[in-house]
Amino acid sequence: MRYLPKSPADREAMLAEIGVPSIESLFETIPTEYRLAHDLNIPRQHSESEVLDCFRAFAANISSGDAVELAARPAGKLFASFLGAGAYRHYRPVIIDSLVQRGEFLTSYTPYQPEISQGTLQAMFEFQTMICELTGMEIANASMYDGSTGAAESVLMACRVTGRQGAVVARTVHPEYREVMATVTKHQEIPITEVGYVAETGRVDLAALDAAITAETAAVLIQSPNFFGTIEDVAAIAEIAHKKGALLIVSIAEAVSLGAVKAPVEADIVSLEAQSFGVAVGFGGPYCGVIACKEKFLRQMPGRLVGETKDSHGKRGWVLTLSTREQHIRREKATSNICTNQALVALMVTIFMTVYGKQGLQELAAQNLAKAKYLRDALLASGAKTKFDGTPRFHEFVLTGAASAAAMNARLLEMQIVGGLALAKWYPELGEGATLWCATELTTKAQMDAAATVCAGVFERELVGAK
């Protein structure tokens, strides 16, 4: 086996030094009846070239990973995709991969020994600083698993801060984030109340929100831009929440929006999914969640934190700090059971934020807005209708007008185009034809025009059918 650095003679010599006759004797503590007497029934040992072939086949959408099958069925190239909904395709500068593939970053452990981990620690400190700057919060942790678990952990955190048990969550929050939150809060007896949105604006229904908050509400959780791409009125929601002593948690699924959309400074806690900053959509993970908040909530923050300090000679350096909140010290009394975070992905995010920087993040967000506006206009011209028209939005919007989202997407797929995400599964009130469309800086005019042409055909046919 090519990863194993021992010759047969090494093994024999080592067994002799240990003083046992065979390798089997080292496994004697495992009762014989439970020791495997045969090979595991898994694929045989593959060469590196065979491993590569196998995954090339998978990458070409062959379900078995069989290279023979690949040769017989060359893959069609997808022309365009308009999917977003919490997983966004943005350009990923090449240097991100060059840097994170350095073994010193890729193959290092959690920086518990700061003297030999200053690289990871300083980069995390820079990450924390940049996240604070973008979100308008005072402190940020060194990452959470992703946006969904970060949102759930934020609710738990708010309960610890306020001593209340309960949260009010907007229905405009990503449906899968809400599902995760339900799983996590259920067994801690934290009731979750959902509040709807105003049918015209696609924003949280403020009157319903006001009515839903009780003396036991620890936090109001919203997403902005929300799942429909609409920007919530964070200041108004904060006022309603704070008036009743609840905290406001703002979940942000599209980090690129922060280059154009006002930071949610009125929030107490921000839970950000930073995947857009240089991380591949990669079929849903790994991504990079992060929690940022007001400094006064520091002791209730979950996850790892990097702090500045000095060494014994007075040199500036960094350490993991405030670990008394964490499970390896507090055990069952910890703020969370989280241990591993997303350090390497957070590093990718840090490099992305550095590459674009102060100017670039603003220009990037503006390009996303321009593309989404063009796409929306093109689809409207094709005969589609859009929802929530008067409300400011970032780069996603809800399209209606088709009789069936499935039928429209099937037509688009014939042209190698993946259309918007069908919404009826989570929002049946929007109808069977409702879809969520997204354009980013990578979406081209040609792709958008092509999609609009297909849609025009669909609407024309539906019109004819109706007559």
Partner: protein
Amino acid sequence: MADTKFIGTPKKATTHVNQNEDLIFEKSSAGKKGYRLAQLDVPAVDVASLLGDAARTDDLGAMPELSEIEIIRHFTRLSTWNYAIDLGMYPLGSCTMKYNPRINEAVARLEGLAEAHPYQPESLSQGALGIMKMLSDCLVEITGMDTITLQPAAGAQGEFTGILLARAYHEANGNPRRKIIVPDSAHGTNPATAAICGYEVANLKSNELGMVDLAELERMVDDNVAALMLTNPSTIGVFESDIHKIADILHAKGALLYMDGANMNALVGKTRPGDFGADVMHLNLHKTFSTPHGGGGPGSGPVACKKILEPFLPSPVLKTNADGSLGLDYNRPQSVGRVRAWYGNFGMFIRALAYILANGPDGLRQTTEDAVLNANYIRAKLEGTFELPYKSRSLHEVVFSDKLQAKNGVKTGDMGKRLIDYGFHAYTVSFPMVVHGAMMIEPTESESREELDLLIDALKQIAREAEENPELVQTAPHTTRLQRLDETTAARKPILRWKAPVAATELTPDSAAKEW
């Protein structure tokens, strides 16, 4: 003159650029750029008029502005301050710091996988689902379980999912029960997990061998107990030989055996938890299956279980359609719910499967044997130099204590730091808690005999230093860029982000150098 020997060299003690890299913010200058956006092929928009009150009006404050070469140098310099497996051995017990094969990284970046959107139609996702299916089948076979979910994002989330499965199972039988038993030798995540699943934690004391005390367990297990969370081999690296009796005691009262798979690197290909009585377990793909630690993540924590727990798996579940194609089943009325958006850390599934394919059944077995051989070799060579509190046969790791050195005031933490001066990462310090002054060493299979001999020599030398010159060890490390860091002040007066200097004086190279 005292100064003469510095003629022709800078007067500052050190200005070594690589060693004194500033924070990125301190290197930033207004107007520099490390990017260029593609030419816009649609009409530009005015952000302020489009977004109105929602538009951002500040200038993003401290966000840095640098050119590409400066960014490359900054992060490359930072990287040189890290220790890493690629540089040498990590004898970190319980962490399984093995080689991270580069083919894993190559295949994870193939465009069809890296660019696959989680919501794209299933017809376009057959390759991605195929990876999940093949990995699931392999892990089910390796663990001897019946089924699996890949959704949990890391080990701790795997534990959470596993205990939720146990809870749902008991609820379906009429009563979720109240308690989870956790041995005192367990990882901190175990009791933390039990607590967030709404369970009381009952601590089980280990016996004099560091193992589960069967009589005590028998006394504790009643029909209020939902499960025992057991790490096997235990955190002292010893297989629980009475594992089937442990399972029997639990099962007799309707309780389940949860196995923490953190130490699975000792078992793969040699024995299967599903065969010896475990009902549910998590795996750490970033330990046993070679996905990189990356300075603390991402991990991935699949949960394998027996058929009785299958109805409760997180939604969605992978399914094979009638036509042989793969799909996702969301119709799971008894599911514990979702623990993470989408399907888990897919990028880690690719890497773990690449590792399994590269090994095959013979390679995985040899890997386990080498890991166990290495730990026992270290044990044989260092027993006597360090106290060995538990004499039971070690599998993949060995736990010594600092008892012999503590007489001279040298503690496990000191010796761990001193190991850094010899070019190694420290071993795991002060864990498991059942061993006072624990020195926990897990070499993994990735170390050659030559590398092991170097570690052994280093530790013997350190033991000698502890006798002859304790202060040398107590003040280690001495060869690193920074010496011991003041963690107390860091926690007492937390500085968690950089802030621009209050006075608007630009940092000059001189004022920046003063820091050092």
